[in-house]
Symmetry: C2
């Protein structure tokens, strides 16, 4: 199997946020896609090891913020490369409430979702979210995962399905 083939699949870059006992928390994901249009549903895939995974399991709610090409390193660094087991991610990061869910104000668009179904794998859960509210936050270009790697020179964190050990 040529693992380089897997790098040809296109993705965006998203903040997946929810509540942890009344405190905002979240992580970065690239695996998100719209599944149905009526009603609008979105599937996101989250690693079992992400603290956010357990919080979504508990609240059955998540918000997805589409991040732009100019997203600040603080958003990616705090949400993507640190764990909510160690820090309170939104103590330093600003968030905005939309439909009573935390979203990233500097994003391109957001969705608030109720989990209506899940599909389990050995390492990840696909959460199927029914979109409750959707809005455009700015007209910035959404960041693709290719842009994130090629232009922003980022590496996949180890919980990402696209992670390749060096």
């Amino acid at each position: 199997m040529d693992y380089k083939a897997l790098q040809k699949i296109s993705y965006g870059v998203y903040a997946v946020t929810t509540w942890n006992q009344g405190e905002a928390t979240g992580c970065i994901a690239n695996s998100a896609m719209q599944i149905t249009s009526e009603p609008a549903t979105i599937a996101v895939s989250i690693n079992h090891n992400n603290y956010t995974h357990g919080c979504i399991m508990e609240t059955k709610k998540f918000a997805l913020t589409v991040l732009g090409e100019d997203v600040s390193p603080e958003v990616i660094g705090t949400l993507g490369y640190q764990s909510a087991r160690d820090i309170k991610k939104f103590e330093s990061l600003p968030y905005e409430l939309k439909d009573c869910m935390p979203v990233i104000p500097e994003g391109c668009a957001y969705f608030t979702c109720d989990v209506v179904d899940t599909l389990e794998t050995n390492t990840h859960t696909i959460f199927l979210g029914k979109v409750r509210e959707a809005g455009v936050l700015s007209d910035k270009n959404p960041m693709t995962y290719a842009y994130y790697h090629q232009v922003r020179k980022a590496k996949s964190p180890k919980n990402a399905p696209t992670y390749i050990p060096e």
Copy 2:
């Protein structure tokens, strides 16, 4: 709900192919993403109305070809805008066998997959495919859905979750 927000989600463009009673068939999809890395699995979402949907249900196998920015209009036109109920799609389109599955030779990369799980919605099935074989076909740029719409001026066919009636 602002439906424009849904257009900020990033995708690639793929040919999803399989067998129909010994004949190659397939359709175009944008909703594909890697879910796990070990073993490698890929989720693709297919509309119930696509003829390919029933064929994957029957064979429990599909191949995914990542299409490049320069993909020929014949591939998109035949696989994406016609139905296998009306024509034999691969009578005019060339395909190549990889791991005994039909793939599109002019693509960027391919995966052959066994369906190991599904998640049902009212209009689409998410097929979780365990990758059996993966290969790079060329070093062309994979086409993003944004490129497909903005540069190639394409419209979403009506079975796509991203379809917006005019």
